[in-house]
Symmetry: D2
Subunit: 340 residues, 4 copies
């Protein structure tokens, strides 16, 4: 197995789009990469910062990406498998906030209304990593509550097709800002390669988030992340897929939310049909009775739905997705961990 | 505690709307009711039936309701608490099917397209209740798979407000055909009373279903169901709420799906704000980091989303919803079970 | 031709639902009816009224309906043709207002947000019927502007199918609160009959409105209206159709708005295919290049889109819709007018 | 006035994105440009072509753009005014077609279904420019119908903000593939400049189209187009605006369609409030009673709605939009035409 540690983040090299930017590093398929990411605010929002939260921010520079990584040999139509070995907060705190005209429960730039915005506010969370805890602290009263630490990346993807360059705030068939809590350690995500080298990047770490990310901002934090980039020739999925030890997962990112649901479910029906070698209608029926359907985000430029089917309900066939890539990468991750 | 066994179902007395029909029985608040329901097809679709599935059906008579029950003393603005003691299939089989122009992955009467319909087909499931199993059997190949039995009611609700009578195929703020797998035994659902007596009814039992009920039809089956109808004066919620031992749940039923999500989340933010006595913005933040957001149905006349927050994350305050009604009804159900 | 003048409105007899109410009058097919309607606020909102606008209103009693009329011989599946001979304001003023959490550019009960409502306000319009003018008067400055008088009914329809009773605030396949400015004098609307007698009613007169009725309230006013109820055996359309001298029009009422657009367009493709005796795909192509697609309302319980095709583009065939009913009713209306 | 004729189209220089491509020409503000565009299929689909329509196409190269044009002095935040002097078909025929899984009345890649696609088919239209006529010819029967020629550009816009490059198939706040029939000769479109030089391009000529472009393909044709690019310092609108002699128009491009409607209406309310110097709520009221709300497209990657208010209803103030730019450009266009 290859092993590579990416150089320290050079703030001048952060990127803000998927596509349209040059590779920051070139790796061989199978490389394990240990790197870090800035939080979605590029570190600008701090407890001691001067001014309101949005005065501290620069809205042109949100969701800074680490990468893109050029994967040698990756060609359009191939599959890039990304296995997250570990995702850990770099600091002992994170932050969420209410941005004006952003979030699911307010008028926004696209669900345009004439109402005044909700009041701007930040919430700071202390982390107790040893006890796996993120501390919620109410702003307007004394309430504190311990929440489970559950680190993940909101933004993970490759360069889009058709010569497009897309903001790191947008999710789509290239991945991007899907903001799904499923994108956690010990899962494998699969992306279709659209351009030579795939140009993978990641960012927007969350110490935890609810499904749908309803206020639009999770517990945002910088991350130290270890992942493996593996290349599978051909078989690139139409939309990003995720596999954990327990679930096969598909995603769809579009508006309205029912269309995101439709995409994720069509992808799952196709996947189950192929893996179990059953007819499309038999797969449609099976998915109908077995799927979980959580929202990922209902706040970004488009919305993301996830369709999850428990692998144990599908029998042995569910283990052979992408030729058993997930199981293989899990083993390699464990070997690496043991070697540290 | 009152205890009442409703008389056997009289097929001539089945109802097909919420509102617009006369009470079939009158009960005192606190009554435990043991009754049964027909499946959504009113028992017309059988393995040995002649003709195609839709030829066997009468589309005017879907989702037959047991009820309505008139609850003495219930007045508009009150809260009807419905605790499901047990929900058990009456027979050893259930059925799902593909109805033409129905389901999330096809053009329908409202997502109107010019495409030909998907082929009509039925799937029959054998139940092994002892082993808690529902057997999936592919139609086009030999595959069989054991799925967990997880019985629930798709259709549960009260008469709507404003003099409306709504088809038992429709979900809304009166409940109705929400098709949420959360409506299982050992949960308590809360509805706002809109008319004197509340006029509660239920039907559409599912041996199990996926979240979103993507093909539009679950594992449909007749049920023997025991439930308690309790009345809480005042405090009627704007939209149906559900409480289990582990979760507070809100629902929203409307199109598009993001609006159903919005409703469920606004309701949860309000509920958490009240229970924890924190500001609305603090509750918005807390819900954003803790909620689960599964689809219930994305196939009915309107769609239903659920917002779930784990009670253990909210601390002691989460136990006092509706004055501890859920815990109290759980105890009464257990006492009753012990007495059988 | 039959001719009947309905008795004066009896305020005790106003109805607030389509379906679920008894007929107020019985008429023979072909009857010309001269009646009147209250405004959507049942006359409660006046320039000199005490309290804020919403304090003057009773939200349980909006969109009072004149009717329903029982049409002799009308049976489920038939077509009820309603020809509007004239629609004229009863008074010399009308009113619009901003209702809290209502309208397209604010959070509402279904596009639920946590924002504060927009400020409540009423606008009163003076009518100059002789000059065909409705005077807009700004509230916060001196601006006045003459707008064309263009009277219509927001709420027109029959009893729905399936035993439903629907609020007069809701549009759907029975018609109801479609709020389309196309429902003006000299047009013919076609509805599928769902119950014996059809049970037609109308209300919610507007002196004029924009397409989409964006703030949710038009220039509301009581009307004196003359219309003919004609019965066509069979051929009941799936969704309400409208015909004027110049246009064939279809409607679709559902959310999201693209689904309303889809319904209206599928109905138009089918209609054009039948009238011109061309294939469905040829009709789809022809409609694609010739249709106008205005919004009717984007504010009610569901939204309504209209699809309009100029009759002159379709040739002679466009005149034979429903056997030339529109042309025939136009003539009868003119004869009646000449006789007055 | 400057006057410039762009060189003949060099097929090697066509562009397929807004943003992400280099300027093909540099012009001074005020320049009149006479150029030409290819049809959306880049001329690949012909009556005599071999193979099915989609075999003739290369889906990577749809909506080829003429441009981009770099406008000297244009800086982010400025307004680019584009006045269409004339738009005329280059050839005497055009073509429409049914693309598999594209259009509003079929399942698509985003409204994902399991239905089979509609049959693929092309329709060829003969033009009789002298008589202003486009001839519809049914494929499955002998029907022919003359339709009015009404030439326009489906794709008109500037480079987007945030470093994005967007496919010429996508509409958005930079303009792009809005597919609005309002983008015809003698109108002025206003765009916010997002990058130095604005980088304006255009393409996708339609000999005519229905509102909503329901099958997804208009009467596609190459165009000879004359337009003026004018620069207004500052004042860049959030979304593209259009002005004709008779109407002020705003656009919104997003899904679901009601959100596109919301955007267009919020922009119109703001515009009317500024021009008439009335309060936002007074403008909301005025727009509510005066606006027309046609769909532009309900088929592209996102949908576009237009909000139109007749200038004559707004009084003199409506003529001073952007300092009277439209009237001034109309005069310059007439002077140029007189000089030819």
């Amino acid at each position: 197995m290859n092993f590579e540690v990416a150089p320290d983040i050079d703030p001048a090299k952060l990127t803000y789009t998927f596509g349209g930017v040059e590779a920051q590093a070139q790796v061989k398929p199978g490389t394990l990469i240990s790197t870090s990411t800035l939080d979605c605010f590029a570190g600008r929002l701090t407890k001691d910062g001067a001014g309101t939260p949005s005065e501290q921010l620069d809205f042109r520079y949100l969701n800074p990406q680490t990468g893109p990584f050029y994967v040698e040999g990756a060609e359009p139509g191939d599959t890039l498998a990304v296995h997250f070995v570990s995702i850990q907060p770099r600091f002992d705190w994170g932050v969420s906030m209410m941005l004006p005209f952003f979030g699911a429960l307010t008028g926004t730039g696209t669900t345009a209304t004439l109402n005044a915005p909700l009041p701007e506010q930040a919430w700071f969370y202390d982390f107790d990593v040893e006890n796996n805890t993120v501390w919620y602290q109410a702003n307007d009263s004394d309430l504190t509550l311990p929440l489970p630490l559950d680190p993940m990346h909101g933004t993970v993807g490759v360069a889009p097709a058709g010569g497009e360059a897309r903001s790191a705030l947008a999710p789509g068939d290239w991945g991007g800002n899907m903001d799904s809590p499923e994108m956690r350690a010990q899962t494998t995500a699969y992306f279709r390669v659209n351009v030579p080298g795939a140009l993978f990047s990641l960012g927007d770490g969350h110490a935890r988030q609810g499904e749908g990310e309803v206020c639009g901002v999770a517990v945002e934090t910088a991350m130290n992340t270890v992942f493996i980039l593996e290349l599978i020739k051909g078989g690139g999925p139409a939309w990003p897929l995720i596999e954990s030890d327990d679930y096969l997962m598909t995603t769809g990112s579009v508006k309205p939310l029912e269309d995101a649901f439709r995409i994720a479910n069509v992808e799952m029906v196709n996947w189950v049909s192929e893996l179990l070698e059953i007819s499309l209608m038999d797969a449609y029926q099976l998915v109908s009775q077995t799927s979980l359907s959580p929202a990922a985000n209902v706040v970004d430029t488009v919305y993301t739905m996830v369709c999850k089917v428990p692998k144990k309900l599908l029998g042995e066939a569910a283990l052979k997705a992408f030729g058993g890539t997930h199981e293989s990468l899990r083993k390699r991750a464990q070997e690496w961990a043991a070697s540290q």
